[in-house]
């Protein structure tokens, strides 16, 4: 059945198989990490973001229905974008600044930019061929040392199509063949010559881990793990090693600090010169895991089954780290209370199912039931280069099914499943994901209710700059791969 009869082999590979989840900073600096507001002692980002917002004036969108992403809805609302930030959000009485470009949007909808927490764009790009298949380092069950950004091809046409679907930020994850798949890259969906030019400034890294079928299928005949218990033994052995590594570095930093302090002080008479402590050898794999233990890296766990999620939650407690989001949580509804109590989000599809046994128990009300828990955190994700283009429709289906069983989910709540919730879960919720004063002006103007199948993203602003306009070909990016392929009357570009 390994057939390409129906095309899109790469998607299926990504889905069922294999895709489908720093040293010495003193001062905070671009790319430096912070933990709980304090600079981390762990590594700064050696591949720092070079993203800079594009030019934007002052834009006023008025007359639209605004779903703010902050949980509110404003009829006949006004949104002001200025200096790349949200300057004001309110009703018809919000003052329009002099010189603002005014967009009359009566009958239309405005939402925050859509965010996909689970994408493989750039790592499994189009065209999908052996030469571009860079999403799964399926060579060992623990490849925590690999970073998705080193595979991201910025010329993937998929980024442009996602832009036309309203996507302004996304997390690109390594695939799910491995227990530890590696680091994710959090990107702003702005075309760039380099991946650094797309990296979301100051976003934390994510770590991709995977439960269940995929690792045991991939490694069952390649030295293991061959079982789910083997998976857990593999995670735990790695965390034990990482905890040791973390301790070694922390001791070194303490010793070094004491040594530097002593060196600065006047030596006591007759005291021997203390020996300068030697830094341990860096290990990229353990460094990523140690940073996850330290809270510097956000843990994203691909996990379909509810019972496995419960085991992972206990494992995280055993080693003192936090799972932020379960991805592909097809059975999250079975343990939705447990997830909410532990402050864990579940990122799910609206209705995909049955491609493997651990995806057999999907229900259409999954997202709604996750949401309905006190403090429940539901996210709709794509894991797919087509799904990412219409997360709004996926959220619309899931909302409708929840409401059909009486959960009374409002559009202003459901929009959070594809905006603020993923932003928070990716560690960027203080900067984007909702239309609130001071946040990045990542904004979508929709032709109609975004949960409708007929709605189109008409204009997409990223940091205030108009990066996509359905009515203006000059505001529709086209990648290097596609340019000049127009001999047959085909144009390519974002709005295809």
């Amino acid at each position: 059945m390994a057939t390409i009869f129906m095309g899109r082999a790469a998607t299926l590979a990504a889905l069922i198989g294999l895709a489908a989840c720093a040293p010495q900073p003193k001062e905070p600096q671009p790319g430096a990490l912070e933990t709980a507001g304090k600079p981390s002692r762990w590594a700064a980002d050696p591949f720092p973001s070079t993203y800079q917002p594009y030019a934007s004036g002052v834009t006023a969108i008025r007359g639209a229905t605004v779903l703010t992403g902050a949980g509110t809805k404003i009829d006949n609302g006004t949104v002001i974008l200025s200096g790349g930030k949200i300057a004001a959000v309110g009703g018809a009485d919000v003052a329009i600044p002099d010189g603002a470009t005014v967009i009359e949007a009566s009958g239309k909808f405005v939402t925050p930019g859509v965010i996909d927490i689970h994408s493989h764009l750039g790592d499994y790009p189009s065209p999908a061929m052996e030469s571009t298949s860079d999403g799964n380092e399926a060579t060992a069950p623990n490849t925590a040392q690999v970073w998705a950004e080193h595979s991201v091809w910025p010329q993937d046409p998929g980024f442009t199509r996602a832009l036309a679907g309203g996507i302004t930020s996304l997390q690109v994850l390594p695939g799910s063949a491995n227990l530890f798949g590696g680091r994710s890259a959090i990107l702003k969906n702005v075309p760039s010559r380099t991946v650094q030019g797309m990296k979301f400034p100051g976003a934390p890294y994510g770590l991709k881990m995977a439960c269940g079928e995929n690792p045991k299928r991939v490694y069952g005949e390649k030295g293991g793990p061959a079982t789910r218990m083997g998976n857990f033994a593999g995670y735990r052995a790695a965390w034990i090693e990482a905890a040791d590594y973390k301790k070694k570095w922390e001791k070194y930093w303490d010793d070094k600090e004491a040594f530097d302090k002593k060196k600065g002080a006047k030596p006591a008479a007759g005291a021997e010169d203390a020996k300068e402590p030697e830094a341990p050898t860096r290990d990229l794999k353990l460094e990523t895991l140690a940073m996850a233990l330290n809270g510097d890296i956000v843990v994203n766990m691909h996990c379909y089954r509810g019972d496995e999620m419960a085991l992972v939650i206990d494992m995280a407690k055993e080693f003192g780290y936090k799972v932020t989001t379960f991805h592909h949580g097809v059975e999250a509804y079975k343990v939705a209370d447990l997830l909410a109590e532990n402050g864990i989000c579940a990122a799910v599809w609206a209705d995909w199912w049955g491609f493997k046994l651990e995806a057999y128990d999907t229900i259409r009300e999954n997202a709604a039931l996750i949401h309905a828990q006190p403090n429940g955190c539901a996210i709709i994700h794509s894991d797919d280069q087509y799904g990412i283009q219409r997360l709004n429709q996926e959220a619309g289906k899931a909302m409708a099914d929840g409401n059909r069983i009486g959960l009374n989910i409002t559009p202003e709540q459901a929009i959070q499943w594809i905006t603020l919730n993923p932003a928070k879960a990716m560690g960027v919720g203080d900067r984007t994901g909702s239309l609130e004063t001071g946040k990045m002006a990542d904004v979508v103007l929709w032709s109609a209710d975004p949960f409708s199948v007929y709605a189109q993203a008409e204009k997409v602003f990223i940091d205030g700059a108009l990066m996509y306009d359905r009515s203006d070909p000059k505001r529709s990016p086209r990648t290097d791969f596609e340019i000049g392929q127009s001999g047959l009357g085909f144009t390519g570009g974002a709005g295809q």
């Binding site: 390994a2 390409i4 009869f5 493997k356 289906k397 596609e482 085909f490 295809q496």
Partner: protein, 437 residues
């Protein structure tokens, strides 16, 4: 005798009960009243406001306004809701696959260098008890093509037209079609060139015709195509144009080659994929080749798909090509999402009526069963869906689904799981006891 008017809710319960208990009994006389009926007969999707539809003996016996309710009929007030013909999925592996990655429950395609191809027959393996059937039925799908897909060899085998009643007799037409992989998918099975794929296709057609002309004298003749005698026999109807052959092909160049093949051999061809179909739309229309496409495809996933655009459906339709939809990745498990594909096609320029046709009457035409299925007309099977909104909208779902004149259950394994886990409290007994009956 007095007519019994039921509320929609009561009708549900009745529907569920009847689906479970009346497996052997003949369908009763049913009247749907006051519907906004897209009959698909005539212009503008054949819309009739305030329509009444009478079904008896499994077929539609009357369609119109203010019809008299026959004696003893069960009547259902649609309250102005939309009724469409049951959706017809033009391509699936329904009943052949339960779990994609599980070998035991997946019969969609042979593994390895298994010798048979064209003679694999969906009717031999079709499982009407598959959970995919109620799940898709609850989404409004009443008819489907269930067909194997090619393994290592180019031909997929014989597909059937089935209904989604889940009943043992749900195969409506066996040996309804053949399939073959061409384009890149075919090349990968034929020496890695598209030329090789077309050459093998020609050889196979000629050999199948030669076999059919003289089966007795053919057994000992050396063969080059890798087809068994059974395969040649199975391929013969398609080879002489008497049976539709679904040809998976994407690029404009391959579509032109397909047009030449059709002309040369007089084939009854349906193009599956046709991602660059809009570039040869007029030629396809002139050659009367219908197209089953995924209207969402807009990425240059292969060089043969550089022209992928969401305008494909609208442009093919505008040129006069008969279109229908499929979505390989969601595939057989989510045929219930066909209306969402159609809605997206409308958002990208396809007229609404054409989108409804692509979900109903067009597939029936493609497979030569439009005399029985695909529209709400007298004499056709009683396959109807009553919707709670615009069928193409993300928020709409069927409230009643009729197959061969019978109300069907909309309960699925998924709704049972939902009901079991709706309340996560510990309860008197574990969840495994809830809804177990």
């Amino acid at each position: 005798m007095r007519t019994i008017i039921l509320t929609l809710t009561a009708a549900f319960a009745a529907a569920a009960a009847s689906a479970q208990t009346t497996a052997a009994s003949a369908p009763e006389t049913l009247v749907i009243q006051n519907a906004r009926a897209y009959t698909m007969a005539g212009e503008g999707a054949g819309l009739i406001e305030n329509a009444d539809i009478v079904m008896r003996g499994g077929v539609i016996v009357a369609v119109g306004q203010d019809l008299a309710v026959p004696e003893g009929a069960r009547a259902l007030d649609a309250k102005g809701r939309i009724v469409t013909p049951g959706l017809f999925a033009p391509w699936s592996q329904l009943g052949l696959v339960e779990i994609g990655l599980d070998q035991e429950s997946n019969d969609a395609s042979p593994e390895g260098d298994y010798p048979h191809s064209a003679s694999l027959d969906a009717a031999d393996a079709f499982n009407p008890a598959s959970t995919l059937i109620p799940v898709n039925r609850a989404g409004g799908v009443t008819r489907a093509v269930a067909a194997p897909t090619p393994g290592d060899k180019a031909f997929g085998g014989l597909g059937a037209v089935v209904n989604l009643s889940g009943r043992p007799d749900s195969i409506a037409r066996e040996r309804a079609l053949q399939s073959v992989a061409m384009g890149y998918a075919g090349a990968a099975r034929s020496g890695d060139t598209r030329m090789g794929a077309w050459a093998e296709f020609r050889d196979a057609l000629e050999e199948a015709r030669a076999y059919a002309a003289n089966p007795g004298g053919y057994a000992l003749r050396p063969r080059m195509t890798g087809l068994t005698l059974n395969d040649l026999e199975a391929l013969a109807p398609a080879a002489r144009g008497a049976q539709p052959i679904v040809v998976a092909v994407n690029g404009a160049a391959d579509l032109r080659a397909l047009i030449r093949m059709k002309a040369r051999y007089g084939l009854n061809v349906i193009a599956l994929g046709a991602t660059e179909g809009h570039l040869v739309a007029r030629e396809l229309a002139a050659a009367q080749i219908p197209v089953i496409l995924n209207p969402l495809l807009n990425l240059p996933e292969q060089f043969e798909m550089l022209g992928a655009t969401q305008a494909n459906a609208a442009r093919l339709h505008a040129a006069g090509v008969t279109i229908a939809f499929y979505d390989p990745p969601s595939g057989s498990h989510n045929l219930r999402l066909l209306p969402q594909l159609a809605g997206n096609a409308v958002a990208n320029g396809l007229p609404y009526a054409a989108a409804l046709a692509a979900l109903t009457i067009n597939p029936a035409r493609m497979y030569g069963v439009a005399d029985r299925y695909g529209s709400i007309e007298v004499g056709k099977a009683g396959d109807l869906v009553l919707w709670d909104g615009d069928p193409l909208e993300t928020a709409s779902r069927p409230v009643a689904v009729y197959i061969d004149g019978r109300a069907t259950s909309l309960a699925t394994r998924q709704t049972r799981l939902r009901d079991r886990y709706r309340d996560l409290s510990r309860g008197d007994l574990p969840h495994a006891y809830r809804g177990a009956q």
